[in-house]
């Protein structure tokens, strides 16, 4: 478990993170638009960058040391664009990392590499060169490399960015599987990425934590704010200009529209809708528009 209290990061120009307080446990989804500070927060948690103030404890122990978090065996961070040693095979790269981690015994190293490859389902690709791997497989090597240390907390920065739909599904299953015995923090700017996956969600925007809670609670944030209506296809272009449309689905000659409105709409053609996760996210973001 990661407990963050009063975390702030400032640069000369701007405040990147402002007074963040979170407890991260289970599978935690960190959602926010570009530039929200997700990567910065993850790097601070893994001791790769500094904070201006705040305290962070991991599994009950405070690791804050000055402006940095002490390197520790609990957390492991997978960067957004992981890639190492393009010219060697997956197996060789992992074996080398294990050696650098100080595992000198050949048998122990082989066993650990085997275990982590197995954990991420990469055994059949272990003879491939790193440069030949697809984006999804490369990310899985990144995870395997982290698992060598047997950390209890895994931080993934936009793990599904740039993956095709098949890889995305496979990746989601892998994350779910890893979630059984690890705390996982996933950052993304797409809420669908963590739908049905995250047990808790934090929404970050411009360095501020706007929302923190379960997916259910996030859905409730959009209660009484989402409306549906059915309109003819011809009227659609005009309708989009007038209303805050969130999503569209076609149905014959008509279109089902979902509309966001914080005030109630008094029209017989509108019906109040049960909010989804995306609706919750949008209403949180919209309420904090400056």
């Amino acid at each position: 478990m990661i407990e963050i209290s009063g975390l702030t990061k400032r640069t000369k120009k701007k405040e990147i993170l402002r007074d963040i307080n979170i407890k991260m446990d289970g599978i935690y989804g960190l959602i926010g638009p570009n530039g929200a500070g997700k990567t910065t927060l993850m790097k601070i948690i893994s001791g790769l960058t500094s904070m201006s103030s705040g305290r962070i404890s991991i599994n009950g122990e405070d690791y804050t040391k000055g402006k940095y978090l002490k390197q520790n065996k609990h957390t492991a961070y997978l960067p957004q664009d992981f890639m190492i040693y393009p010219k060697v095979t997956v197996n060789e790269a992992l074996d080398h990392i294990a050696l650098l981690k100080g595992i000198l015994d050949k048998n122990v190293r082989e066993q650990k590499v085997y275990n982590s490859l197995k954990e991420v389902n990469l055994l059949e690709h272990k003879g491939k060169k790193m440069s030949q791997l697809s984006g999804g497989l490369r990310k899985r090597v990144g995870i395997a490399q982290l698992l060598l240390d047997e950390p209890s907390i895994l931080l993934f920065d936009e793990p599904t960015a740039g993956l095709d739909i098949e890889e995305r599904i496979r990746f989601r299953n892998l994350l779910k599987h890893l979630g059984d015995n690890h705390v996982i923090v996933i950052s993304s700017h797409i809420i669908e990425d963590i739908e049905f996956l995250a047990t808790r969600i934090g929404i970050l925007k411009e360095g501020k934590l706007l929302f923190e809670g379960t997916p259910e609670k996030l859905k409730q944030a959009a209660e009484q704010k989402i409306w549906t209506a059915q309109i003819p296809l011809e009227e659609l272009s005009k309708f989009i200009l007038d209303q805050d449309v969130i999503s569209l689905t076609e149905e014959g000659k008509n279109v089902n529209v979902r509309v966001y409105s914080s005030t109630s709409i008094n029209s017989s053609s509108y019906e109040i809708a049960t909010p989804r996760l995306l609706d919750g996210y949008l209403s949180v973001i919209r309420e904090h528009k400056i």
Binding site: K12, L48, I84, Y85, K87, G142
Partner: protein, 223 residues
């Protein structure tokens, strides 16, 4: 001890695999300078020194080649954050193992020289000078790659220095001159040269340490 040796061997093996045939470049340069030494027919006393100049220009500057290619991996896209912690911890071992490897190169060359000519021609001044140069160039290379973070540019800088020094015989350019181009007995201010080389080594060691420390914690412009 045995474990350490096995680790060093594995690290070399990995470097070779990761770098490819170009890893053998310093070896090729070494072989060239040894062959030159063996085949050389000296006309007079001073032409013996050509092989010493050759050795300094062809082989010694590339002693840091392996470590440059090793550290280059750190600065490839997407690798920095993952590799930095391990590379920082492992850097002293990396430097020491390449240094030891090339010390062998220096020792063997000196042996060949003493068999062909006379060890007294290069002992003690030249031999000590070779060892100091080896240390100097390994740290110079390390500093270059850590500062520039780009293998091609770093090699260009190194090459420019060596080629110009060789072409002008250590005069002309207003920068440190570290090679010895003549009979040591004829050399003016030799002692000063050695003091300076030691001073450069200390500077480069400090620079390497400070730069890698700065990189490893990525101190951003935070207040």
């Amino acid at each position: 001890m045995k474990n350490k040796l096995v680790k060093i061997l594995l690290l070399f093996k990995f470097d070779l695999k990761n770098t490819g045939v170009i890893w053998f470049f310093p070896l090729v340069m070494w072989v060239i300078s040894v062959i030159y030494l063996i085949l050389q027919v000296p006309i007079d006393q001073s032409s013996i020194y050509n092989s010493i100049i050759m050795f300094q220009g062809f082989y010694v500057p590339f002693i840091g080649f392996g470590i440059m290619f090793r550290l280059k991996e750190l600065y490839e896209d997407g690798a920095s954050e993952s590799l930095m912690p391990y590379y920082t911890l492992n850097l002293p071992l990396d430097i020491v193992r390449y240094l030891l490897l090339h010390f062998f190169g220096v020792i063997i060359w000196c042996l060949v020289f003493s068999i062909k000519y006379d060890i007294n021609l290069i002992w003690p001044i030249n031999i000590i000078h070779f060892f100091l140069l080896s240390i100097l160039f390994i740290f110079f290379s390390t500093t270059l790659i850590i500062t520039i973070k780009h293998i091609e540019f770093s090699l260009t800088v190194l090459l420019t220095y060596v080629v110009i020094e060789m072409a002008t015989l250590g005069e002309f350019m207003p920068w440190p001159h570290v090679f010895i181009f003549d009979q040591v007995s004829l050399y003016p201010e030799l002692r000063l040269k050695f003091v300076f080389i030691c001073f450069y080594i200390i500077c480069l060691v400090c620079a390497t340490g400070i730069l890698i420390k700065r990189d490893s914690t990525k101190k951003t412009n935070s207040i």
